[in-house]
């Protein structure tokens, strides 16, 4: 049970809801018990449990979207995907309306010290919280958990093609949000 708080915190950051996260921890603990013979000790226990948690989170979203839709992005435009950041960042010819590097110095400098990293993480978290729910889900499964686009798409209930378009949208919304926050170098 020592790992349960870590698992819980991990689940909460992905599903954003205490009760669902508690259920997921319970599922993981039971699955880990049932598969305990498969744990060979080569990885840390926590890492192994987080691995199981990733699948449980995917299952959770798949169950919510039991009928993966083949809708194109245009058809789900009015859903909770947020507005297209490209229309606000680029003009009709596809040229920048604003300087894309202003306020982004912290993201082009290397290396980044710990204090700066903490600022960046806080800003990223704040901007992620501002993303529409399903866009946040897509982005966090892809970037935090490094899951393949096909799995991420299945979890969000869209086709892989639409997931790629939506991931692009999420990244640009986040980038634009971070630019507004202007983390000083």
């Amino acid at each position: 049970m020592q790992e349960s708080d870590k698992l819980f915190a991990y689940a909460v950051t992905r599903v954003g809801d205490r009760h669902t996260a508690e259920d997921l921890v319970q599922d993981v603990v039971i699955a880990a018990w049932e598969k305990r013979s498969g744990f060979d000790g080569r990885s840390m226990l926590g890492t192994w449990l987080i691995g199981i948690m990733k699948f449980k989170i995917l299952d959770h979203y798949r169950a919510k979207k039991r009928n993966p839709t083949s809708m194109a992005v245009e058809m789900i435009e009015d859903e909770d995907w947020g507005s297209d950041p490209f229309n606000q960042l680029f003009d009709g010819q596809g040229a920048w309306k604003i300087d894309p590097n202003y306020g982004m110095e912290a993201f082009t400098e290397t290396p980044v010290d710990d204090a700066k990293r903490h600022d960046i993480l806080r800003a990223v978290r704040a901007c992620m919280d501002g993303l529409p729910e399903r866009l946040r889900l897509l982005f966090s499964l892809r970037e935090l958990d490094q899951l393949p686009v096909s799995d991420v798409a299945a979890a969000a209930g869209v086709t892989a093609g639409s997931a790629a378009v939506l991931l692009t949208r999420a990244r640009h919304q986040l980038r634009a949000c971070l630019q507004r926050q202007h983390i000083a170098p």
Binding site: D5, T13, Q26, D99, P100, T108, I120, R125, Q173, Q179
Partner: protein, 119 residues
Amino acid sequence: MSCNHSSSPKPPLSYRIAHFLMGPFMKMAGLSCRHFAELCSNEMDRPLSRGERFRYRFHAMMCRLCRPLPLQFAKLGEAVSCCPMPAPTIGEGVTLDEAARDRILRSLELVSEKDDQTK
């Protein structure tokens, strides 16, 4: 999430002049900054086709303003994946409460009892 960049400066004058003159051609050829920004994200999810790769490299070579974009996206991904994210809106230091802990323990006991019975 609105995208109000009223405080951000416009791109440099040289960029605006170049795009005023070349913009329509760049857009037609799929070489605009917008196309490049899309390709920057696409390459994080899948390998680019040969044509896309050419357009990506060509644009990166000639557009000083867009050149840092891939690094910005890489840093964003790095920042997100390398460190534990701060807890979300429900509060810092998120932990299981006692009731949930008991419930999980009970369910684990039930499963282990079933295990023993089958053995």
